[in-house]
Amino acid sequence: MRKPVKILFGFFFIIPAIIFGQAGTIEGKVTDETGIPLVGVNILLKNTNRGTATDLQGNFELRNIPYGNYTLVASMVGYKKFTKNIGLNKDKVSVKIILRETTLKFNEVVVTAGKHRQKISDLPVSASVISPYFISKKNFIKLDDVLRYAPGVNVTLDQVSIRGSSGYSRGAGTRVLVAIDGIPAFTGDTGEIIWELVPISDLNRIEIIKGAASSLYGSSAIGGVINIITKNIPQKPVTMIKTQVGAYDKPFHKEWDWSDKYRTFNNFTVSHSNKFDNLGIAFSVTRYEDMSYRMNDWQNRFSGYFKSLYKFSDSVSLSFMATGFYRDKATFDYWKNSREALIPSQNQIGNEVHSERFLFGSIYKNKISQRLNLSLKSSLYRSFWKDKSESRNFSGSNQYRLELLANYKFHKNLFLVGGSEITYGTVNSNIFGNKHSNGFAFYAQAEYNLTGKLKLSGGARFDYNKLHDLNPEYSFSPKIGFNYKLESQTILRGNLTKGFRAPTLAETFTSTITSGIKVKPNPELKSETNYNFEIGINKQLTENINLDLAVFNNEFFDMIEPAIDITDGEVTFNNVTRARITGAEVTGKFEIPDINFTAGINYTLLLTEDLNKNKALKYRPKHSVNIQTDYTPGGFTFGIDFRYWSRVEEIDIELVDLGLVPNGDARVPVYVLDLRTGYNFFTLGLPANLFLALNNVLNYNYVEMIGNISPIRNISLNLEIIF
């Protein structure tokens, strides 16, 4: 509406209505989908100049509004716009507004991949973000289950792979760096990711950076980074009680029905957060029990999470985070055979592992000036496990880290990131020995806005790593990248980087005998490296359709893998593989706002090759497809999720040939269809969400790892009460 028309509208309608007393109040409360009040949401009556913003409790009030019909619009960056027609014909009208998160608008999503906050549309690499509401809706309990639905990510049992970086190595080392609030979270002995450590009820978002990121993050980021961002502490107290119950269906084949009762699982979480002046705290405790659909696969877990944030001033703060768990879990390594696929072999029955894992971290932030920000991060990852095998294996490790990070805005077009990191680790184990490790690193990266449309970035990291008394290793990991906005809705990006992964203490020093087969140490083991190239394009085709395409190439050198030494028949970790992974990834997202429908589809092509053996790499599906649809009429939510992997070409065939995994070569393409529904009771003014998820609806039997049938059809109900 043009300005003179607006003035006339005000003159003829609003002013007389106020004079004659026919005016009322529109008030309301705005929350996100989990019931957390949203602060600073813009509230506007369309075609008028009346508007306001929500306060600390998410409340708003528009007074002296003339009686009449209005369109109320609520908007906030990162959320879908909300509109509602309101007829004001009494003193007060109340509305409850739930804003739903959006990942559709590419230029609005913010990530911290470059060790500072950036729009995802400004990055030179592919990245994606998963929202916590998706986790609630799907009733996920563990983060690796969530990642199976992320574009370009594969999970084999509990081992994550971004664009084919990893196969399966029973937890020895990881080629994806997982961090919680920027603090790396892998164990000091095996270097593995323990997903249960992630406080899944306390997440703000999950950022996935694809491709080597060693130039900023060092070892393990050779395949990418998953940065898990925990929730901010809200201004007002929030308590959540979350209870989840579920059950597995009977197996598809009668021959596999080993239990005379339905196998169940349950999860119970209580969390609370509050602010006292400058101090904010949040904590949660979780109890999880799973009988499992397989024999000798049960687990019981107690988890705890604590976060505090103290603001000394507007520019100085100190946060502390602790997360950990105690867990007892039975061990299911491989099936007995394909006729008894949900039962392990006799020698596995009774095997259990007790584990205790804790991650403590603190982050001190100081905004020295408008240009300079400093952060000091320190952490301790304490891990202990012991099993009940004949040899009573155990391992305890402590991994200490200290990182100083500086962000400096040199001028409006030049941004600098620099830092240094010191690590020290100790291990006490009957299979890895009593060992220690240490390392330090320096890194620097510059981002230069060349023309307003073209952003260039470049940087490098130097790493020193020393395992116990072995010779130290040095790694230099440079990178260059660009981001070019071809036009307002089309972004071209490219990245060339070198990555590396230092061998873990477990890969270097393991010495044990299992079933008569000796695993021997290899002090000669050195770092594996890769050169990663990617070019991608993102186009916002229309307001509601976004398309992203990326092609990539990854050249691996000295890949570390377990292998049999032909001179003595003993197993050792070696730098054996020169490998190449080439591929492409297409992601499309679209939305029909009028009916609250969103859909996303992703296709990933992976062409992998072990160049020494002229074979594909193990456990990498050539084709992967992920489809997610969401329909949210009113307070309801309905969703269909589907994922597909082509049959993996290469597996651990030697385990099958040796007879260790009978019928272990049985594998099929993966088709998993999940259905979900739920109701958001906040629309009725009740502080609750209810979700029902039916996973693997078709009860389809497949393996990610040989001899391990993935979860059969299961149903779960999740009730969240938030007040």
Partner: protein, 165 residues
């Protein structure tokens, strides 16, 4: 859009009619009991059931090529040990066919060795009614044999194949 979803769901259902991985047929194999008579020698560090394709008539027959199956370890000192080749394999997969030598072998080494001199045969499988020569084991397709029993008498060890200490 609705039609597209309908066809997509239909296609998925059709793809999945077979339920994915199927239970396999009966794997060939055998089971039985090993009986131990007398005192176990102190020097024994590991005991296994071993299956060779060809009879051990020459030192070269004790080879990785001829060795088709090695069971997991039999615990030291037991009087009786029930076994099955299902999920009890340290090495090898039982395939249908004819085998010339099934025995219980013992070693004084902690680790597995393929040298003939590192092993002593504690008991041999004989065909019923003929204990004069090692028995032949015939395993047909999709067949699992039972009562393949072996007696190990430490007081009266069997004839050792060529190449021992």
């Amino acid at each position: 859009m609705k039609n597209l979803l309908k066809y997509l769901l239909l296609a998925i259902v059709l793809w999945n009619c077979d339920g994915g991985i199927q239970p396999g047929l009966q794997e060939p194999g055998f089971s039985g009991t090993i009986y131990f008579i007398g005192e176990w020698p102190d020097s024994v560090k590991r005991t296994h059931i071993v299956l060779f394709e060809k009879p051990l008539l020459d030192t070269t027959d004790f080879s990785a090529e001829n060795l088709k199956y090695v069971s997991n370890e039999i615990p030291y000192g037991v009087n009786e040990y029930k076994y099955t080749t299902e999920n009890n394999s340290l090495f090898g997969v039982i395939k249908p066919g004819e085998y010339g030598y099934l025995a219980v072998a013992q070693s004084t080494l902690e680790t597995i060795s393929l040298k003939r001199e590192d092993w002593t045969i504690a008991g041999i499988y004989f065909n019923p009614g003929d204990s004069t020569k090692p028995g032949r084991l015939i395993i047909p397709e999709n067949t699992f044999l039972h009562n393949i029993n072996i007696t190990c008498d430490f007081n009266h060890p069997p004839v050792q194949p060529p190449g021992g200490k």
